[in-house]
Symmetry: D3
Subunit: 239 residues, 6 copies
């Protein structure tokens, strides 16, 4: 069984990670999962939110957003509508939780790391590309902060990567582009550490409930995909 774009079911799309895409950010990269293209930028600022002051610990937040013409049909700009949509909120929270799992906040001092993932072009898997790219930009930012002496500790505890999996016409498949995503019976986003543990598992029955064996097959596929992405992150960081 081959897919429309010629991949095998357990094969990622071509992945590109271009580090240092921005000149001002402490760390940044442009990450591409096929035609999905996300600009990840990481800034560090002194101070933490009010509820964390005096704890001696840092904080990490993330915001995900999509440009109006990232999708095939132009969508209205959230700033013009005056509110952030539910999907945007949900994904921003997911990216933040996922990246916090990469960091020992007690090693950051009372500094805040702000991650921005802006989808320049969307073709499925934008949230998983965002998380995968954000990790690379985060490593560069942390190294930059250490060089500057702004961070003294060693806050990075593990690497983080994410991938989507889904069941299409009964077959579990890895890293779905938009055309597959809309047809999937079940759709799952999985965030894992480089050491092979789970950070987030979010499975949704889009068109049909799934049973335990389907769930197991999807999890196995996600483990394979995250391992591949972890290797590609390491290569990008070593380059």
């Amino acid at each position: 069984m081959t897919r429309e774009d010629g991949r095998t079911p357990d094969e990622l799309r071509p992945i590109t990670i271009t580090r240092g895409w921005l000149d001002h950010a402490a760390g940044s990269c442009l990450v591409e999962f096929g035609k999905t293209r996300v600009l990840c930028a990481v800034a560090a600022t002194e101070g933490v939110p009010r509820w964390r002051k005096g704890s001696g610990m840092g904080w990490l937040t993330a915001e995900y957003a999509m440009l109006p013409q990232a999708t095939h049909d132009r969508s209205a700009r959230e700033s013009v509508k005056g509110k952030v949509g539910g999907r945007t909120h949900e994904i921003s929270r997911l990216v933040g939780r996922s990246l916090r799992a990469a960091v020992d906040l007690s090693q950051l001092g009372e500094n805040t790391i702000a991650i921005d993932c802006d989808v320049l072009q969307a073709d499925g898997g934008t949230r998983t590309a965002a998380i995968t790219g954000a990790y690379v930009a985060l490593v560069d930012a942390v190294n930059h902060l250490k060089q500057q002496g702004a961070v003294k500790g060693d806050p990075l505890v593990d690497s983080i990567a994410a991938v989507s999996v889904g069941i299409i016409d009964g077959t579990p498949m890895l890293d779905l582009p938009y055309v597959e995503d809309v047809r999937a019976e079940t759709d799952m986003n999985v965030v894992m550490t480089g050491s092979g543990k789970f950070i987030e598992v979010q499975g949704t029955a889009e068109n049909a409930p799934f049973d335990r064996s389907e769930l197991d097959a999807l999890l196995a596929l996600a483990e394979k995909g995250c391992a591949d992405l972890t290797r590609l992150q390491r290569e990008a960081l070593d380059a």
Copy 2:
């Protein structure tokens, strides 16, 4: 190993489902998971959102919200802040997706079902109580609509229940109250059909990544909890 409230790890809190708690709504119930208390109400209106017009199919939406004094410390009212928070958005979307899985929208005609789940008191598991109660209110609403002749088909395809599970001090536990929830290393919300299939699996490493065997243990516990809730829903509906 017993828990602070005396339950065994695979035991639900006392569950109460009071049908018809409201006089105006087409269907309603007050659902209680221990001290968590959620008022679920279901309304039906003619017409569907613009993007669905002419499809001959219905629609179902849900909104979840929390009263300011539902929690121990009063939280600011979202209407006064002028925006819906990310957590509220995320749970509203989850409730909607979950309940849509109970319904064959093509049997509804071009009508919209609006579900409101308002948390009157929160003690952990509010989203799973909301989904479990909303299903009961939905059954009453659909029967009401059929009696009125507003719905001719048979839109209900399966029952839906949801439960939280988590790992606390290394032990997987069912249906976490707030005191357990904040201590959990890993926390998972699972939505299942009455026939034992999965609708949503949302697992999050709160304090530590989890491995595959922990994930398996949590899924097994959730299957047990959802089966119990399905039975309690049936009893409430038969009463």
Copy 3:
């Protein structure tokens, strides 16, 4: 002349006040005027608004709101609309002013009392039920704060109750349910102290201007109703 529900013109609907309906709030009650059902909750927090700092005096605020399905036709949620409506604003301000009349703010210290009145079901008279119930919850909250030592003085100066009156087909009537309210020529909400003085008188010619003798008849009826409610509040607090 009897009314649709069998009451005499000067008779209240069945009034129920269930104290301690919530576990977290400093004071709370579920108050019912017939089918109108309002959940009143009272929280105390340290500190006062900026313009009151350093005065040594406390503050008291109130928010009134209605659940979407409290009324017969579902109304849109104000948090989702992103703004508080004029009616909500107006009643919140009325509740706040009324309850502040029960309290000597100089006895509170620089603490703020926040009252939330959430209408779970609406059948006329929601604002008067809210004020009447809020007073009971306030007494419990103040006693709780005194036990904790958070309040040293004796801030409660008088009890507060409120009732609606109106003229229907030329007859002044007490405590209008929705079916009477929409037919009323004139509609008045009156807030009084337990000692029989007025705090607020808000009369509105809904369908026809009213003359001085009609106004006098409505005021007499309101005095009777508030006296009845004061007695019921005392009974609830003594229970």
Copy 4:
């Protein structure tokens, strides 16, 4: 007993009504109650709100607002804050209800009258000045619409005027400027028809509850003040 500005307790401040202050509005006036200065403008547009369509009846709305430097200390602009405050909402609703009492909406056809009352300078009594001035502008607007043939019927049923009264140091007084308003124990705004009936009675115990005899004294004073204003309106309209 004389007042700071030399008036007797039952005397209005100097009242000025300048008709036709604007060139574009269908009707307008600048109304002054002493130093309080309100610009009232009335526009008519075809069509009615959605919920009134097909009724054959018209509608009337009103908006009240205050310029930032109308008061002694500059207040933030509501458009910049992004929301209308509770006080503004409350007064806008009062002005609308009051003026609707002047109009037989069935004589308007499906047209909407929009009244804007903008406080250019505030020195107490802004809402009563707004109502009193809005009536004059409304008469001019209705006559203008009749001349244009846009309104065929005779929608004006009675004149409307409003005044504030209050108790200061135990003495009931008419038409309070700001310095008296802040000292008043009790404060009442009364809206009446030209034929001497009540449209709105809004009494508030600002600093002390009031008894029935004080209420009676305030009502008598308001009747006197509204009669004076009605005469001044008539003179302005006859000029």
Copy 5:
């Protein structure tokens, strides 16, 4: 060639500047350019925005707004819409930048001057009338602050005036009313100092691009108009 209102192409409309139109503001005036009528008010408050604290320098902000019935067709109120429109934002920023050019902020101390320009009636040239009037109100406010001792230095460095110019049917014209403004091929707003230098030049091709010679003709006309306005400002301030 004469214009509809009988003016020559290089002639201003009748200009009226009424100082001290408000009682509370530190400085104020009602400025009229023909039927365009703008109320300018200036307030001073202690303190500066956060980003300027500790600089020892003051700040000056401006807000421009239009009443709903200032224009021929009533426009919706921005506070009710919940957001400030682009045009309002743009003009507010222009007024602020222009008036800051009149002031040496280092002579103000850490105080903020807030200028409000509210258009009561619009007939073209509202932003230029606002700037021209705001300067006069600013002079009165600064003198008031110096008398009070709140400002010790001499912050006013030059006078500021503004005028609109445009090309209509090929002829450059000064100070366009609405009927000319909508027909203009090109439209320019120019802000100048009393000493004849430029502060802002904003030219826009409304209906046709303009060449360099047209631009030169418009600039010459604007220089003439601003010189006339400077003289009228001086006369108003000397009165």
Copy 6:
């Protein structure tokens, strides 16, 4: 006199225009003026705003925005703040007006062209880069629409380019990067047609008023810069 980056005063930064940077948009380009990097995208949709319906004419709108980490210090996201800032509003309006000058809207039919200019990295001149790039993307979009048959006429009437100029230490300079922009005494943005006429001239005295001869020098420099950009646009479109 040479500049920090080695350019002569009348020399543009390196300009890059990468067409077709997006796969979904009807036309798009990534335009770079030195380190300033703007993604321009053009979409066409059927229909026009309400006020233009039935005119047979099209419409063109533009939105300009900046990513949070486009600048050196991260700025808050406007969607999260819930409102569009004044600067964003002002530039969006400028881009829209400028590009409408390139188009004969009567040749578009009742279609709307939406232009999005998102600043990915900012180093001065973002609005002029946006306009210059938007024109190139617009040409590609119009050609695309004509190929599809969606546009039958020939709406493009002239090319549009924009550049910034300013006076630094008394010397007029072309195309200012951020380090020059903050030091400029005077700053001007000029939009011109390919045929050498002016569309917009926006000059601002940032730190000192400017006289007529300085204005003339800046205009001459802008004419030179726009001519260079027009040539570069043509080369990009011919490639």
